[in-house]
């Protein structure tokens, strides 16, 4: 199985995603250059974290116009699996692959820490190796992670079971929707209508080795292998 990892100018988690694929599930990974119209016959596309184009203007706004993104969009429309992490999630929203937007964290500060997220749906290409309700310990590292959409969209996402991850484990007295960045309804990750595009702010690729604090993200990769693997 081949994972294609897009490198935009300013991507900086492309390497982390690459290592996660190669070191943990032993599958093939290739970098995809933003200027090329070439997905190199990848079975899965990863849009990695980072600061594409410096995230100047708005996170992800410029990257969505990269040549390679036109191919990624077509790939996704054909049902190809796309894992969009952090800046990748922002790009996927800007590109219209996922609904909503990711705005500046409510604290106006960049936040890097391990957080706990809850698996809300395991009926996806990316989470079938988890049980609903599993709590994962995963790092976040972002300045613009406040998921925002209108009520209608939010209700639809919930109704269709497309909220895949939610932030969990805020302070005991926090309200139901506690999130580190102010995300609406504590949303940390969603899938598109057809279930083949997952966007998430936390970094599963940084949680694949207990030496580094957690391997709770490993099953995201194993799930993909189980569902798509050849």
């Amino acid at each position: 199985m081949r994972f294609g990892i897009v490198t935009f100018p300013g991507s900086n988690c492309d390497y982390d995603a690459y290592q996660a694929v190669v070191e943990t599930i032993g599958e093939e990974a290739v970098y995809l250059w933003h200027k090329d119209h070439d997905l190199k016959q990848s079975d899965v596309i990863i849009l990695p974290g980072g600061f594409s184009y410096g995230d100047y203007l708005r996170a992800g706004a410029i990257a969505r116009f990269s040549p390679v993104m036109q191919d990624v969009i077509a790939f996704a429309k054909r049902g190809g699996p796309v894992l969009a992490i952090c800046n990748g999630f922002q790009i996927a929203c800007e590109a219209g692959l996922l609904p909503g937007a990711l705005l500046r964290n409510a604290s106006l500060k960049y936040i890097c820490e391990f957080v706990r997220i809850r698996v809300e749906s395991n009926d996806t290409t990316f989470t079938n190796r988890y049980a609903v309700g599993d709590i994962m310990r995963v790092p976040i590292a972002h300045g613009d992670g406040r998921y925002t959409a209108d009520d209608e969209t939010l209700n639809r996402l919930e109704g269709d079971g497309r909220v895949v991850f939610r932030y969990a484990g805020g302070p005991a007295d926090a309200d139901e929707w506690w999130s580190p960045n102010g995300a609406m309804r504590a949303i940390a990750g969603i899938v598109n209508e057809t279930g083949n595009v997952l966007g998430m702010m936390p970094h599963p690729e940084r949680a694949v080795d207990s030496l580094l604090g957690s391997d709770d993200g490993l099953r995201v990769f194993e799930s993909m292998l189980a569902r798509i693997g050849v």
């Binding site: 900086n12 290592q19 410096g54 995230d55 500060k109 960049y110 936040i111 590292a141 080795d209 580094l212």
Partner: protein, 761 residues
């Protein structure tokens, strides 16, 4: 014999007057030296060039003779001081490049951009050695957080460091922050970068090969930061305000592209040298590369890509626009260079070439605007050894018998004192700071901020690097020689606590105006102490930076020689953390407390006093402690290790209990053995050479300690999750619910910083 052109003044340039010379920071003697070197009047452009190159910042004219006394050798040192960064071998054909640098003055004027561009500069110093940056550290000093201006500076600096490093994608893994009124108005912002390279990809910034083209790479040159190097060589004053337009703005996005492009360039073999255009921009990078290679260069400023119209040669040469590099390529391979830069959407322009004639020549098209006798431009720089004597005030303070200081009524409850210390911003958790730093990108961070030292694994090997910055400026103020020794030892101890064998240091000497005898005394003695400690520990100095003139209207900052230590951990299996791990583990104290409370955080925070002699430093004892610690950790018998520093033993114990908010454990500790010592010295004194260990094999730990001649004693036992911390001395008893300690330690800085009116850009 070289023959200099007679260089005509450029139309429109100001005439050389005594006032202009003074404005450029040259003394009468220095100007005479320049006249002698040229054999004629300098042009305006030449005056600018010399002003920059002979500024303190570029020339080290007040520190060079002192720096020469530092030890720089070890079998594993591949590159000592004098290059963009030092390099040490770590085996397997791998090496580490690392260096620290200050951006104090720019950060005082514009904290966000000042700190951000500081990070950018040190990153470039490391990747121009052919190394991929793998970790960032920093060392910060501010005035008291009670001031809104200080909170603004603190918030801006932290955000600047974070935004830049985060965007480039290098984890910021360790650092230190201390607050003291002496830094009011003149914060210290030191940033350190560590990079990894293959030994055979090491490249030096040495211009070579007559006919080789010189290429400007990266961002365009604008009018920002013109004469920044001279600016960093003056006291801060109201006039600095007027110098504001000199502030430079960083573009981390371009830096990331430049990083990738530079590493690709180096690997391509198409270039012979590469250097950052840092302080004094094009001038210093070209002059230094030429001097190192003992060659001449010629540069045509009209070829330099500029951002603004009508820039003069003077401006182009002295601009400190960020994210630029100077490259010497191999003749005939210019197109390869250009192609690599184009791939990363960056520009490259041939602006000059290496020449046989030993001159440094700048032209504007056909007109020569500056010409110097080659390397003399760099080597003729004046060197000063000013008068030095110790400040009478410091002598007086040190002589005060601080043991006589009366205890406050509140101190009858040692828990009160402990909470006061834990909530002192200098001691309190710095999570507010490093939560704004990406600490986990590149997926190698085993221990990030919050431990003793940071640990970053080396992929593809069994090993890891440990690293930390340290310095207690108060100790250095009270006794520069001892204080600097302690800075080295504390950094080494922190590294050893994680299992790392200390290998080498980089250092940043932050001092006041060296023309004042009291300040030059501090500098001289601190360098002496640092050298002694480095020799004793076998950790050579591979590079560093000197930042002088850190003063404000009320005087100099504390002398602050920051040490950045790197060490090697042989096996990732033995990486050790600071906080208690398992119930029933035995707590062992290595090292001995003593009765001195001089120079302590206790005296400063509780009694508002900076006095007494600082803790003593026993270099042989420190060496033995580190050997014992590393041996015990490698033997797999240590479950946690944390060194005693600010706040003493009680604070160290509390930190072992509460540092990790995910799993806080209590402890029961008995210190009655030391019945002679006053309780406050035992609990809060800052005797050096001490480490708190937890272990399930105390006998082995104690026998290893004994073999190394290190005092060791069992002092207690680790408790259950959320059990209290209980400490008994002959004189008193301290019983602390962890929630109280947690609140004091973890909420102190967030609470202060939530006072509004801190809006950073």
């Amino acid at each position: 014999m070289q023959r200099l052109h007679s260089v005509e003044p450029r139309p429109g340039d100001p005439a050389i007057t005594p006032a202009l010379i003074a404005e450029h920071g040259l003394t009468v003697d220095e100007f005479d030296k320049l006249l002698a070197m040229l054999g004629r009047e300098p042009t305006f452009t030449e005056l600018g060039i010399v002003s920059a190159l002979w500024s303190e910042h570029c020339s080290y004219k007040h520190s060079r003779p002192l720096l020469r006394t530092l030890p720089t050798d070890a079998p594993y040192v591949l590159q000592g001081p004098g290059e963009n960064a030092g390099v040490i071998s770590i085996g397997d054909g791998l090496a580490i490049a690392f260096k620290i640098e200050s951006h104090n003055h720019p950060s005082a004027v514009e904290p966000y951009q000042g700190a951000a561009t500081g990070v950018g500069g040190i990153l470039r110093d490391v990747f121009t050695m052919g190394a991929r940056p793998i970790a960032m550290l920093n060392s910060l000093r501010f005035g008291s957080l009670d001031s809104a201006r200080v909170r603004y500076l603190f918030a801006g600096v932290v955000k600047g460091i974070g935004d830049y490093g985060n965007c480039v994608g290098i984890p910021t893994v360790a650092g230190e922050v201390a607050f003291d009124p002496s830094y009011e108005g003149n914060p210290l912002v030191n940033a350190m970068c560590v990079g990894l390279l293959h030994e055979n990809e090491l490249i030096r910034a040495v211009a070579q090969g007559v006919g080789n083209p010189i290429i400007a790479v990266g961002a365009r040159t604008g009018r920002d930061g013109i004469n920044g190097a001279s600016f960093a060589s003056e006291d801060l004053s109201a006039e600095s305000e007027a110098k504001r337009p000199r502030v430079q703005v960083g573009d981390p996005f371009t830096e990331k592209l430049l990083l990738e492009a530079s590493l690709e360039l180096i690997r391509s073999g198409a270039i012979v040298a590469i250097q950052d255009m840092g302080a004094a921009g094009l001038t210093s990078s070209s002059a230094e590369m030429a001097a190192r290679g003992d060659v001449g260069v010629t540069i045509d400023v009209t070829k330099v890509p500029v951002r603004e119209e009508g820039m003069t040669p003077y401006e182009i040469l002295l601009s400190e626009s960020q994210e630029r590099m100077l490259v010497v390529a191999k003749q005939g391979r210019e197109n390869e260079v250009t192609a690599i830069l184009e791939k990363w959407d960056l520009t490259a322009a041939v602006i000059g070439e290496v020449i046989a004639e030993p001159v440094y020549r700048v032209t504007e098209g056909d007109r020569v605007v500056a010409e110097f006798p080659g390397i003399r431009l760099v080597t003729d720089c004046p060197v000063y050894t000013p008068e030095a004597y110790e400040s009478a005030e410091v002598v007086r303070l040190r002589a005060i018998d601080v043991s006589q200081v009366a205890e406050l009524p509140e101190e009858r409850d040692p828990l009160w004192t402990l909470k006061e210390l834990l909530s002192s911003p200098t001691i309190a958790a710095k999570t507010w700071v490093h939560r704004q730093y990406d600490t986990t990108v590149r997926t190698n961070t085993v221990i990030g901020p919050g431990g003793d030292a940071a640990v970053v694994r080396i992929r593809g090997t069994e090993r890891a690097l440990a690293m930390k910055t340290d310095c207690n400026g108060r100790y250095v103020y009270l006794d520069p020689r001892v204080g600097a020794q302690i800075a080295v030892c504390e950094a080494a101890r922190n590294v050893a606590c994680t299992g790392g064998r200390p290998m080498a240091i980089t250092n940043n000497l932050n001092f006041g105006n060296p023309k004042r005898p009291e300040v030059y005394f501090q500098l001289r003695e601190a360098v002496r102490g640092m050298g002694e400690a480095c020799r004793a520990l076998g950790t050579p100095v591979t590079g560093g930076n000197v930042s002088l003139y850190n003063e404000n209207p009320t005087g100099a900052v504390y002398p602050t020689p920051v040490v950045g230590m790197v060490g090697l951990i042989d096996s990732i299996a033995h990486i050790t953390r600071s906080h208690f791990q398992e119930e029933h583990d035995v707590i062992v104290l290595l090292g001995e407390p003593d009765r001195n409370i001089g120079g302590s955080e206790y005296l400063s925070r509780i009694h508002g006093m900076v006095a007494g002699p600082p803790p003593a430093c026993d270099l042989d004892g420190e060496r033995a402690l580190i050997d014992a610690l590393v041996e015990a950790i490698q033997g797999g018998v240590v479950r946690s290790a944390h060194d005693c520093s600010d706040g003493g033993l009680a604070v160290a114990l509390a930190e072992c209990c509460i540092m990790d908010r995910g799993a806080q454990r209590g402890a029961t500790v008995d210190l009655k053995h030391w019945r002679e010592l006053p309780a406050r010295a035992l609990l809060f004194g800052e005797a050096q050479g001490r480490v708190v260990i937890s272990t399930n094999m105390p006998d082995t730990v104690l026998s290893i300690a004994k073999n190394h001649g290190v005092p060791g004693r069992i002092i207690g036992q680790v408790g259950a999750l959320d059990a209290p911390l209980h400490i008994t001395t002959v004189a008193n008893e301290l019983s602390a619910p962890l929630a109280k300690l947690d609140e004091a330690y973890h909420e102190a800085i967030p609470r202060i910083m939530s006072r509004a009116a801190v809006v950073s850009p």
